[in-house]
Amino acid sequence: MPADPNMKILVVDDMSTMRRIVKNIMKQLGFANIEEAENGQDALTKLHAESYGFVISDWNMPVMTGIDMLRAIRADDKLKALPVLMVTAEAQKENLIEAIQAGVSNYIVKPFTAEVLQEKMNKIFK
């Protein structure tokens, strides 16, 4: 099923510059309903409070990492079906395997291009 342009998207990153970049690309791709969270814990609070259609998250963050947030999402009956895309500088094979085992929907290594983000979204929402 193609991605709904009106779906609410949560961008999770401790760096304001990265959140802004991802938001900008998503806006150019036609998705304007975007909210932000600074870490995994902040994201979980928002995910429990409102309904989201997609999460784009960093890995390394203070308070709660992206991988811990992903595990918490997959362990939650209400959230477990939520697509989660990881956008991270963690480019080791072990990281990717860990993310796959935790149930990631797809994985992007920084630095990335808008085309890569669009391609991954198309794969998630095909």
Partner: protein, 195 residues
């Protein structure tokens, strides 16, 4: 029995001399070690400043890029309306030319998005700098431990001014307070006859 005691005494004397020599050498390196350790928090602070500077620069480029994107989006919408009006009054040549211009301008949208994504360098730089700061702090802890364990004392500030590292740190510190702004530079230039 007596020979054994003499031998033991000699060996203890040798050991004492060795320990004394080792302590003397430790004391010699102690002062510079303590001074170097004192410089590390300052070096770490400069690394964190680097993060702040790249973040501020990146956010400014983002702000300007977003303004251009918004302006372009508005212009593209206006042009599309003009094209449809021209088509309605059968001005095919003019609408065709405008359509071509719109397509050419659309290429820049991709360039602007590429500028935005290229700015993700700042995140990678910031992550590496944070790791470097953690390393510097760890080294400082270990140096402090050595200073404490061996009771090394820092003899005044003499060692702080020595060495390449000390000189560079002084330059970095000075750049914070003595770097002149353009208006002051212009003032000085005008005093020297530059118009």
């Amino acid at each position: 029995m007596l020979n054994g005691k003499v031998k033991l005494y000699d060996e203890l004397g040798e050991l004492a001399r060795y320990l004394e020599s080792a302590m003397r050498k430790m004391a010699e390196v102690g002062a510079p070690m303590a001074a170097d350790s004192a410089q590390l928090p300052q070096a770490a602070a400069h690394l964190l400043d680097l993060n702040k500077m790249t973040e501020e620069g990146t956010l400014e480029v983002m702000r300007l890029t977003e303004i251009i994107q918004d302006n372009r989006a508005r212009a593209a919408k206006d042009l599309a309306e003009i094209i449809s009006i021209l088509e309605a009054v059968d001005c095919q040549t003019l609408s065709g030319r405008l359509g071509k211009t719109v397509n050419e301008l659309a290429q820049d949208d991709k360039h602007l998005m590429d500028i935005m994504t290229a700015l993700s360098f700042q995140d990678l730089v910031a992550q590496r700098v944070k790791k470097l700061v953690a390393i510097v702090e760890d080294v400082q802890c270990k140096l402090v431990e050595l200073v404490v364990v061996f009771g090394l004392k820092q003899d005044g500030t003499a060692h702080e001014t020595q060495g390449k590292a000390g000189e560079m740190l002084r330059q970095l510190e000075a750049s914070k307070s003595t770097a002149i702004k353009q208006d002051l530079a212009d003032e000085l230039l005008s005093e020297f006859g530059f118009k």
